[in-house]
């Protein structure tokens, strides 16, 4: 019963924008991005750069011996001055402003009704790690590969997208305690 009590109820649907409308807006944005910059959107690419730069500042000699990190982190200044990091910074502000306008800018932990906070956070960390690992394998995430590549009809991006849904649905039943 106590678990029920501190569970945050599902948000009422009308507080979020109609999904098709959000999709149209996102699609127009994706087109504008392609028209202005010649490429789509992205998120995990920024994270790879942040990771590589973090490793470089902690253990530069390690980066010297790792082609993957060296390719991303060096030279130091140019590694930070990449469009995807600007996009990431913009997204942080955009999300914060939207959240603030809708009264959603407040500390919370989103979780299913039957899961404890430590378990939820452990799952978030593990899921994130799997996601980060997979995004590097797939050379992109839902934004940079599925969304952006899908819009320009890249063969690989479409197969990637189907694989994402296959991966999610195949595991959903086994982790249902996290969400349902």
């Amino acid at each position: 019963m106590s678990r029920q009590a501190n569970h945050i109820p599902d948000p009422p649907a009308e507080r979020y924008v109609d999904p098709y409308l959000a999709g149209v807006l996102l699609g127009v944005l994706l087109f504008v991005a392609n028209y202005v910059t010649g490429h789509g959107l992205g998120a995990s690419g920024g994270m790879s750069r942040l990771t590589a730069i973090a490793v470089d500042s902690i253990a530069p000699s390690h980066v010297d011996h790792n082609g993957f990190f060296a390719g991303l982190a060096r030279p130091w200044r140019s590694a930070l001055n990449h469009w995807i990091l600007w996009t990431l910074v913009g997204a942080v502000f955009g999300a914060a402003v939207s959240g603030a306008l809708a009264g959603r800018f407040r500390p919370q932990i989103y979780r299913g009704p039957r899961v404890s906070i430590p378990t939820r956070l452990a799952a978030a960390l593990a899921g994130g790690a799997l996601m980060g690992y997979g995004a590097e394998w797939g050379r992109g995430c839902t934004s940079g590969q599925a969304l952006s590549g899908g819009a320009v009809l890249s063969v690989g991006s479409w197969l990637f997208m189907f694989a994402v849904f296959a991966g999610g649905y195949s595991l959903a039943y086994f982790v249902r305690r996290l969400w349902r």
Binding site: A22, G23, T37, S48, A91, L159
Partner: protein
Amino acid sequence: MGPLDLAKYGGWGVAVSSLAIGFAFGFILERAGFGDARKLSAQFYLKDQSVIKVMFTAIVVAMTLIFWTSGIGVLDFDRVWVNPTYLWPGLVGGILLGMGFIIGGYCPGTSVVAASTLKLDGFVFFLGCLLGIFLFGETVSYFYAFWENAGFLGRLTIPERLGLSDGVVVLGVIVFAIVVFSGVELIEAWMNRTDHRNAATAGAAVTTAAAPRRSSLPRLAAGLLTAGIGLLVVSQVVPNPALERARSRAEALIASRERHVECAELLSLIQNNQIVLNLIDVRDEADWNLFHLADAKRKPLGEIDPAWIKKLPADSIKVVMSNDEQAANHAAETLIAHGARNVYILEGGINRWIAVYGKGEIEPIAASAGADSLRYRFAAALGSHYAAADPDPWNTPIPKFTPKVKFEKPVVKISGGCGG
């Protein structure tokens, strides 16, 4: 014509535009409810399929706009980044990513949105992503060859793969999307109907996200179908303006005769082993059988299409030839208009070549010059077995010539995508 040249504004052009695009990206995702792991994960339990609706709508809308603008020559699709296809690593990555999604509740972009609105689970997920990327960097050396090569197909679009026109594929994807959306709504309605009933019997408030709401799918579907059919019609009747412009530029370039190389220059190119040379002979098979240059490849005029041109190596020098120049000029124009680089024409064609290197081995016949037909009589259809087809590099002096070939480097592709 897009994409815009941001480089001319210095580093700030990229920074400001990316910042603004990122802002809108984060804003829209948050509005859609994508900063909420419960809403995102609900996709995989079929009750609230907003993820597929938002993502797929965005893909289809952006695709329609991109191919419409390319079709009417407002956007240069060749300069738009298309994620290269790495088949097998992509499938491995996609499956891992989907598993991470259902365990952690976010994807990289949405975890940024969640963290930015102070959701601790989103922030922890974000840190998890960094950890995963770190682990990838530590382990990639064990499977590097597979990751880099397995099923690599380069820049490949679905229309190219299927051999269909862009308009047909765009309309097909639109129809597919509408079918998916309709199916998804039926599933949602069914899942939530049982939910409402349970809630009613338990006397509790209905808490599922997908409260009944009038769907905007019919309007979206109508709009997309109109745009898709419109594109198909437009691509049939309106010649691609970008291609028309490129064609008239190519025509002017050829008329300037800057791309016509003398026989002597071609011979020096043939003897230069440091360059990759594509000798493209556009004559008919009978003439080709009688005589052609060693290492030339025959490609009749009618078979020179965009798909073939795309497959030509970017870093080779292409020399097109016909009996005189007419057909070669025409072929070179098509090649240049479709973006082939380093395209040249053999001045005077095969007739001039034989006049210079035939050495009495091949006899001339009387025929009017310039008719683009062979003016020599051949003892037999020996093809490239005549000495003139491959002049002896040691004993054929190359007279002085004005070099015209300037090697143009392939364009550096705009980098993009998530992979960094």
